[in-house]
Amino acid sequence: MITITINDKEITLDQPMSVLEASRQAGIKIPTLCNHEILKPYGGCRLCVVEVERMPRLQNSCTLIAADGMVVKTESDVISEVRRGILEFLLINHPLDCPYCDKAGECELQDLVNKYGATAGRYKEEKRKVPESRKDQIFARNMERCVACTRCVRMCHDVQGSSSIAMIGRGGHTRMEPFTAESFNCEYCGNCLTVCPVGAILSRLNMHSFRPWQVDKEVETVCSYCGVGCSLIAQVRDDSIKRVIPKLGLGVNKGLLCSRGRFGYEYIGSEERLKTPLVKKDGELVQSTWSEALGIVADKLTEISKVNSGSSIAGIASSRCSNEDNYVFQKFMRMACGTNNIDSVSRTGFAAAQKYFEDLLGQGITGNMVDGLKHSETILVLGGDPTNVNPVLGLSIRQAARDGANIVVIGNAGGLEKFKTVQVVPHVFEEAEVLESLLLAVSKEKGVRGERPFVDKELRVLADRAPKTDVEGFEEAKKALLESGSTSIVMGMDLVQRTDGHRLLFTVAGLTYLLEARLYLLCERPNEQGLIDAGCVPEMLPGGRPINISDFRAKFEAEWNGTLPENDGLTILEMIEGARNHTIKAMYVMGENPAFNLPDSQSVKDALSGLDFLVVQDIFLTETAEMADVVLPALGWTEKAGTYTNLERRIQLQKKVVEQTGGMEDWRIIAELSNKMGYAMNYSETEDIMREIARVSPLYRDLSYNEIAQGNCLWPYHGEPLRGEVNEVPGMHDVDKEYNADFYLAVEKPLFHSGTLSRRSEALMKIYPEPLLKVGGSTAAKIGLQDGDRVQFTTSSGTIEALVAIDDSIKDNRVYYSNNFRSGGVFSVMKFNIDKVTNAPGIEGCEVRIKKL
């Protein structure tokens, strides 16, 4: 226990900290410039000086560790005089262009001068001149305003780990610059903007268009891009979002954001938004009214369910929609349409993996807190690049690396290239051999745990297989895992989208089980977990209750007042198959774009075109919507309220921020339809729906908006015990195929894009305007490619033309292309087989030829 006295106030500290932190804890303000809560102390600005008894000169409170018995004074005439002097120093070379500077009003320097007072203009010399740079599309850099606190650089280097900017030069000529001094060419997280105390780095998105004090309101909400679910503040003026900023200490992200979260908000105000319902007449989609459009849908669905039975109708839900939307959607499909055919594109990754892991190891196995990563001794990363898919989660891995954790990467390391400690790059599509060998080695050492008979049995089967241990890095990887006292496994979806996906998943499950590791599934979309929780899966009711267990069914039938269809429904790929062979007649798509977001997209389109009736409910006229008979305009992020469940299973509230465009909330559209179809749904606001969820779902039991708003709502919530039983999954089977082509095509998951939404964000399009074919250094050398070359690449199902970008973190002979841009997504040239165990598409073995143009 340390007791110190600050301004005659006695303060007891339970852990060592600086005098500055101690003062803050006691609510005593000390002015600072170079210090920032997120960053380590620096001690450069000297504004935080305090008087300490028995110490000769003024002390820097940010770097002075509080010692027992210290007597500190934070304000005095001498201190004020010093602070005034320092501020005068800071102003001598400052342009004093506050009237023109966007930072005015939230500028720390301005506030400090306001408090301590400026001295008379005694500085008569020439000021340092550095012209403002607007050579970057997103950031404006004004080094005359810079106070050289280095907060931006420390943020970029020590926290973000992007290390894209540096203080260039020495002494008074020090200035922040990106490597080329022009474009930042960085991860565009914008976290430097958060920490810059003055107007030295500003966003160009809304330059000179508003003043910080001119925002009409600030709404605390949650990001709509990925499964991390970062908290953010939307600042609104004239009913449009002017800026999105994070808030220190808040949410999963605690003050950090990624490029999508910070700059990707503009899509919501896009000109392309759907504003009225559309109905197909003579092959053309034409504007319609709500009553006409809803009438058509209700009639048509009623008719098909009567004539062909409910099982000829299928529904695709959306991991971009809220828990409430999805809950109402599945209830509608089940009770109004009479089918369990409910699934989502999440089946191609997260949902498939999650089901597999929960069947093997129990419910909730994949829900671990992001914070846990920081406490790991070893982090095994495989199947994708966390820093791209879930950027803010990626930061925790980088932080762990800086704190000395072993980062073991299987495959290409992407944004962890400079942070990995061990890397194993298996020959393409031989990941299973390597992982099984690893699992085998671990089980030899750790023995059998004996808690999951099925897993133990499969482990014994595995023991008969020959280990494959000649891959570089294998031994180090093994060592790191065996010696680790606290392990996390972070798995991306590349491992799921494989014909032998279940084999790969088994090894991951086995490692998780034997090492008692925390398992994290990368989660591309904001509500993949919530979608499952809400029951938008063909085999489970809300709360992960299997539909084929009659007790559960009975409970829900009583709650929902009707009869539930008994059999498991179809998975999404089976639905597409059904559409192709006309067993599925009608499809209802809510907030999803299967004609673009499923592999082999052309054949998906062909299948969908055979439907009798297709309804699409969306905020944009997507590729799927273009094919629809009826298109219903929905409301998007910030236009409606609702809860989302992130990859840690944290339930968070998205709030309404701006007025709507003419669309309706997804749940409201569906409730109206349901009422028209004779199944009554009486919700007047989302809270009504949550009240129902909280009653019927054991996971969200008793949960209220009020409690969610307090934060830290992780399920199971006041709940019943988790579903305890564990299922057997079909055993492993080999996929016999040789992979010796020169190059294979894989899906790029770019940091700056997510597809439908991001391609309507001006900022993100500026950062990454067109898809690039990413090739590794050795691939480039093999065919003589250079950055910026134009190439044609061809698979068995098509050809795409693109520019090349060389990426040295790609170490194998994969080439990557994204599926996020409007034209020619990589899925248009990718065929797939289905992994019979997980029902996910296996898109491996996509040989590709590359021709330089």
């Binding site: 280097h157 992007s162 290390s163 540096a166 203080m167 020495r170 610059e177 490597f179 400079k418």
Partner: protein, 154 residues
């Protein structure tokens, strides 16, 4: 980018330190020797060879005044003008270099023969004024001796 010989040389330097970052200053000297100055490509090559962020490499490089951040002439005159040298006439030598060889401080003569860098004390105060030409010390300079010395550098 560096050829294999240079990469090997850098790897040898790296072996002298427990971490790769510490090899940065020596590697920058190597790059300066290879490229003549620390061009963007030179710094990228170092970043690549040591697996360090390029901006970090540039940040460090830019702090040190003996790294050349723009192309220089065939010979670099590093003349000290700090107090001991100044009081014994170093400034006159600067003027002399200007008029006689057309080389201004921190610039290169038009014929590319000399670049002049004004130095802060080069540790030859007892024999002031002094300079380094490339890596050779020349001390007790006068206009006359300066002229004679520079004759040797073409």
């Amino acid at each position: 980018m560096f050829n294999d010989t240079v990469i090997n040389e850098i790897n040898e330097i790296r072996a002298k330190y427990p971490d790769r970052k510490s090899a940065l200053l020596p590697a920058l000297y190597v790059a300066q020797r290879e490229f003549g100055w620390l061009s963007q490509e030179a710094m990228e090559s170092v970043a690549h060879a040591l697996n360090l962020p390029a901006a970090f490499v540039r940040g460090t490089a830019s702090f040190y005044s003996m790294f050349k951040h723009k192309p220089v002439g065939r010979n670099v005159i590093q003349l000290c003008t700090n107090v001991s040298c100044m009081i014994l006439g170093a400034e006159k030598l600067v003027d002399f270099l200007k008029t006689k060889y057309g080389v201004e401080p921190n610039a290169t003569s038009e014929d590319g023969r000399f670049s002049l860098v004004i130095m802060e004390c080069i540790g030859a105060c007892g024999t002031a004024p002094a300079m380094l030409v490339n890596t050779d010390f020349h001390e007790n300079l006068t206009e006359k001796s300066l002229e004679k010395i520079l004759d040797k550098y073409k």
